[in-house]
Amino acid sequence: MKEVIAVVRMNMMNRTKQALTDAGIDGYFAHEVQGRGVGLANPHVLEGAASGYEEAVALLGERGKLYPKRMITVVVPDKDVKAVVKTLIEVNQTGKPGDGKIFVMPVGDAVRVRTAETGEKSII
């Protein structure tokens, strides 16, 4: 079993939810988070500065600002990891910085509370 954690743009959430449902992933867990990446420049600010807006020029060189994001956590069997990652990338990719990151982490065990089933049976 693997845990797939995706941090994505918040305006992509509806599309992501639909795509996961279409891909056969019914259970996942979402969280409102704030984050920043390695990108040291904000594309909107750069665009504004290039068009000559003084407010944007004043913001140039600003670092460490946190942007609102959404975090989706899905636990899937090993064989589904590739498909889930592919779905998430296809839906969320715009090609600009800030699209997000996807982390794949190992999971020791999972338990369904209702029936006490463990292992892969509990997540299917």
Binding site: K2, A6, V7, V8, H31, E32, V33, Q34, G35, R36, G37, V38, L40, R63, G64, L66, K69, M71, V81, V85, L88, I89, N92, Q93, T94, G95, K96, P97, G98, D99, G100, K101, I102, F103, V104, M105, P106
Partner: protein, 114 residues
């Protein structure tokens, strides 16, 4: 690659974020959580507070940077010189694969592009 998850005091979160930025680890995700620790919350008079607000910081770094990042977070999140109950915890867990959505690039556990 490893994921470092740190639960810190909300008022210390900005200090930790600044310390990480200065140390060259800009990429962080932050969210609010509530919890209690070994001290079973805080007891003030008759009332016990066992859902204490905290901030969770999440960062994925290379294996080699692990000790340095943990040390940086720990120093920045500690209250006073000695620290106090409630300063938080840091958890480290392995990450198998990392994908950047904008480019679709995959990095493996060792930090190489695959």
């Amino acid at each position: 690659m490893i994921m470092v998850r740190a639960i810190v005091r909300p008022e210390k979160a900005d200090d930790v974020l600044a310390a990480l930025m200065d140390a060259g680890f800009p990429a962080v995700t932050k969210f609010s959580v509530a919890g209690r620790g070994k001290q079973r919350g805080i007891k003030i008079g008759e009332v016990t507070y066992d859902e204490i607000p905290k901030t969770m910081l999440l960062s994925v770094v290379k294996n080699a940077d692990r000790d340095f990042v943990v040390e940086t977070i720990m120093t920045a999140a500690r209250s006073g010189k000695k620290g106090a109950f409630g300063d938080g915890k840091i958890f480290v867990s392995p990450v198998d694969e990392i994908y950047t959505v904008s480019s679709g690039v995959c990095e493996t556990a060792t930090g190489e592009e695959a």
